[in-house]
């Protein structure tokens, strides 16, 4: 198994969807240092966590990768929710498209998305940002 290839299955479509927006939205993944931009600038964070990765059967443990993907997009506060919705909609479409894939990527990993919780919108108290948050259950296989 390759956790890195599995992680890429879910992170790359999100990064590309945000990159295709006008203006482009930079996305930061786990363990990537970045400075929170000033008010008025936009950015997104992607957090991927593995949950249970094997399932016990009579003959041992089978690989059964399950995980959780959390995408948070930040835009300016006090300017309505429209831009936040513009940001999260292509992300949701890109993730849903994973379910229609018809084979393994060159990396050997394939993934599917399950229930999506959100998008949830928050005007943050401590920062000058408006946040939209999407939480997605994911599962994956690796050849």
């Amino acid at each position: 198994m390759s956790f890195q290839a599995v992680r890429a299955v879910f992170e790359v479509p999100v990064i590309n969807a945000l990159k295709a927006l006008t203006p482009t939205v930079p996305a930061y993944v786990d363990n990537q240092a970045f400075t929170v931009p000033d008010a008025g600038e936009e950015y997104a964070t992607i957090n991927f966590q593995f949950g249970e990765t094997t399932a016990r059967v009579l003959t041992g443990n089978n690989e059964d990768l399950r995980g959780s993907l959390v995408v948070e997009c930040f835009t300016s506060k006090n300017s309505g929710p429209a831009r936040a919705q513009e940001m999260i909609t292509p992300v949701m479409k890109a993730l849903n498209d994973l379910n229609s894939c018809d084979g393994y990527e060159a990396t050997g990993a394939v993934g599917w998305v399950g229930d999506m919780t959100g998008p949830a919108f928050f005007a943050l108290a401590d920062t000058p940002f408006y946040m939209v948050r999407l939480s997605v259950a994911v599962s994956a296989r690796y050849t």
């Binding site: 966590q49 593995f50 249970e52 399950r66 943050l124 920062t127 946040m131 939480s135 997605v136």
Partner: protein
């Protein structure tokens, strides 16, 4: 062998027992997976019958927040009766729960799971709900049905 007319009451009884067990196990797992600093947040997980929102209206009264060790077992979970298979709602009553669950960013406390002294991994709640809870429900349901078979 029982007649088929007794099958439905039996089935309802099994489902009710399953719901109670699942509610208790999921709540216990949330207590184990979640942050534990003073034990206050852990103590505020509740199970309510039916589909009623759990109000987040309890603030931490302590002023001296000293970290204590997490006990080996979570605090006891009370599961009330839920007649007519109405199910359960599980939630935490702390008024700061969205920060404790890493839903909202904050420069203090857990700092959305980035604080060096955090007591639960980043996005622990999402990870549990998205990638662990399903199997817990499946396992507990199977266990109850096996007992009756």
């Amino acid at each position: 062998m029982k007649p088929i007319t007794e099958l439905v009451p039996d089935f309802r009884e099994i489902l009710q027992e399953s719901l109670e067990l699942i509610a208790e196990t999921v709540t216990d797992e949330l207590k184990k997976e979640g942050p534990y600093y003073t034990g206050f947040f852990e103590s505020l997980w509740v199970v309510q019958p039916g589909r009623k929102a759990v109000k987040a209206n309890i603030s931490d009264p302590s002023t001296n927040k000293r970290r204590i060790a997490r006990p080996s077992n979570p605090s006891p979970t009370f599961v009330p009766e839920s007649p007519n298979l109405a199910g359960y709602t599980i939630g935490n009553r702390a008024n700061y729960r969205l920060y404790a669950m890493d839903v909202l960013p904050t420069p203090t406390g857990r700092q959305q799971g980035n604080a060096p002294n955090k007591t639960a991994p980043k996005n622990w709640y999402d990870t549990y709900r998205n990638a662990k809870m399903g199997r817990t429900i499946q396992r507990e349901l199977t266990n109850v049905f096996r007992r009756y078979s």
